[in-house]
């Protein structure tokens, strides 16, 4: 009797459990779609604000946002683990080829905001303006600028007047952008810079270090740092990085910020991207200190 009963009971229990699981997962799928969104650390604050606000627009869609850098986001797109990759630089040719090779379709670019890469110094730094050439002298391999004195400055509170270069890790889109636009495409960064992992970390460190200079997105400025007025060539009028100068392109280091999808977006992802490009989505861009695209 017992021997006969046990397998029957077990079967019934198993059936019940599988039904329960089916019900659960089925219900979940119907009620909630999850969009995976990863990449650029410059965009991460805006992306999070979008995700939070979109909850009010469409309760059935959740967006999971994480940072890590543009390179990390695009790597995740290649591996097919995200729906949308954020990037503060354009996708590279070799990356696009890898996306096609592993997913069958290429990455499609969506411009979602405009940013300016701003060089920040401590708020007590007396610097008035800087040229792109001077930045290259500070940051590029072989550049000779090691002290604030080399720029003709004396920075109060800075011991030894040493120029403390703050930079980003190599998976950062901002790092790549500065390499291409400031140092020149085939030039490397000088070793010995403090390579931080986040846009906000750079501004925090510069804000607490009188000797420092560092770069980050326009939206990350605080009152403990000063955004340096930048001129494209020696003798030219310098342009202060603001929303207006980034929008009209007169600030030389302005750049579009992108979201990438695998092929043309479909379903919930398409609706989400449309909302991001709409007036409501772009208002959030402006609220976070970046330039809307419309």
């Amino acid at each position: 009797m017992i021997g006969n009963n046990n397998p029957v009971r077990a079967t019934i229990a198993l059936a019940c459990m599988s039904l329960l699981f089916a019900a659960c997962s089925g219900g979940d799928r119907a009620s909630r779609t999850l969009i995976q969104n990863k990449g650029s650390d410059t965009l991460v604050n805006v992306a999070q604000a979008w995700a939070e606000n979109y909850r009010k627009v469409d309760e059935s869609v959740g967006v999971a946002v994480s940072g890590g850098g543009s390179g990390t986001g695009i790597a995740a797109l290649i591996n097919g683990t995200v729906d949308i990759a954020n990037a503060s630089r354009g996708i590279k040719l070799e990356e696009q080829e890898k996306v096609k090779a592993s997913n069958g379709v290429g990455a499609v670019e969506h411009t979602v905001a405009v940013d300016a890469v701003v060089f920040f110094v401590h708020k007590d730094n007396p610097i008035k303006s800087i040229t792109v050439q001077q930045l290259a002298c500070i940051y590029a391999e072989g550049g000779k600028c090691e002290n604030w004195g080399d720029l003709g400055l004396e920075v109060p509170g800075c011991s030894g007047q040493e120029l403390i270069r703050v930079s980003r890790q190599s998976n950062s889109g901002t790092y790549e952008f500065v390499r291409e636009e400031v140092l020149g495409k085939n030039t490397d960064f000088k070793l010995g810079s403090r390579d931080l992992s986040g846009s906000k970390d750079v501004v925090d460190l510069v804000g607490s270090t009188p000797c420092a200079i560092g770069y980050s997105g326009l939206g990350y400025g605080t009152d403990r740092v000063k955004a340096v007025c930048l001129s494209a060539a020696p003798g030219e009028q310098c342009i202060a990085p603001t929303l207006a100068t980034a929008a009209d392109g007169s600030y030389v280091l302005s750049r579009p910020l992108f979201m990438y999808t695998l092929g043309e977006p479909k379903g919930a992802v398409a609706t989400y991207l449309e909302w991001i490009k709409s007036a409501a989505g772009q208002k959030i861009v402006a609220d976070n200190g970046f330039v809307p695209v419309r």
């Binding site: 990390t72 403090r194 607490s208």
Partner: protein, 309 residues
């Protein structure tokens, strides 16, 4: 009556013996398996780390450059260079400073807890030291970044507070609880007769500690110190945040550095699997493995040497 009772007893005994005859070897095998699993895991991990970078290490890695060049440019467009000298210097400098702080502090605390204090205070101190070990390393890193950085700038008049000193102090404090708890166990294991004999001969308490207890417990104390070193070499996120993460060979404790572990942690996420940069990071993993293996082997040989004397 007596016969029947003894009969049932015998029956029970033989049943339990029969069960034991089956269960014992099974448990023995299970335990043996657990023992072998450690060997399996160590070799498995080494094999995985090495094989992930094997293609690059064998075919394209310039070993001389890898070991002697301070230029770490894995993402350069025009001229990729994989030199780890600056990273090794970073790891060694931070670890050395950490040990200069942790060894005297840790052993001192161990001696104090084991020999100089009693009762509830001793228990409380032990719990607090263990609590120190429970602080997550990212919190230590945050302390380095947010609290130590401005303090070091002010006190040492340094251009930046994220440097060897900051990382060394943080790592030292992280290693102290390990040294304290293992060191205290080693001192506790010294028989009380040693202490009594020493005191009876007229030695002071301090003389007893350094002339009797230290020699008697030296293998345990050495193990404590070397486990602390292992902790310091392997720590990642706290040093990533506290040392400034700058590729350069330090000239003074106030220079920023970057360690081997932090480099792997910071760069592995972006690399394409199987690419040169990815495999170069695994080559760094092999280097780290060799370091920790050397530390552990030295510890083992020293402890053995001391025991055989």
């Amino acid at each position: 009556m007596t016969d029947t009772t003894s009969g049932t007893d015998e029956g029970q005994v033989s049943t339990s013996r029969r069960i034991a005859a089956i269960v014992e070897p099974a448990i023995e095998w299970l335990i043996r398996l657990c023992g072998f699993s450690a060997i399996f895991f160590v070799f498995g991990i080494f094999f995985f780390v090495f094989s992930s970078g094997a293609d690059f290490i064998m075919n394209r890695l310039d070993v001389v450059e890898f070991m002697t060049s301070p230029e770490w440019y894995p993402t350069s467009v025009s001229n990729k260079r994989y030199g780890t000298l600056a990273l090794v210097a970073g790891t060694l400098s931070v670890t050395t400073l950490a040990m200069m702080i942790a060894v005297p502090f840790g052993l001192g605390t161990a001696v104090f807890i084991s020999e100089f204090c009693d009762g509830p205070f001793k228990e409380a101190l032990k719990i607090i030291v263990e609590f120190l070990a429970a602080i997550p390393s990212v919190v230590w890193g945050f302390i380095g970044l947010a609290i130590m950085n401005p303090v070091i700038i002010d006190v040492f008049n340094a251009p930046i507070g994220l440097n060897v000193l900051n990382g060394g102090v943080i790592l030292g404090l992280m290693s102290v609880p390990i040294i304290v708890s293992i060191g205290e166990d080693a001192l506790k294991a010294v028989p009380d007769t040693y202490r009594e004999a020493s005191l009876a001969l007229g030695a002071t308490k301090w003389q007893t500690v350094y002339k009797v207890l230290f020699p008697a417990a030296r293998s345990g104390l050495l193990a404590a110190v070397l486990l602390g070193v292992g902790r310091a070499i392997g720590e990642t996120i706290a040093v990533l945040m506290a040392t400034g993460h700058a590729v350069q060979i330090p000239n003074s404790p106030l220079d920023s550095v970057r360690t081997l572990t932090a480099t792997i942690a910071a760069e592995l996420g972006e690399t394409a699997q199987g690419g040169d940069h990815y495999q170069a990071l695994f080559a760094i993993g092999v280097l780290l493995f060799i370091f920790t293996f050397a530390v552990n082997l030295t510890a083992d040989l020293l402890v053995r040497g001391i025991k055989n004397k």
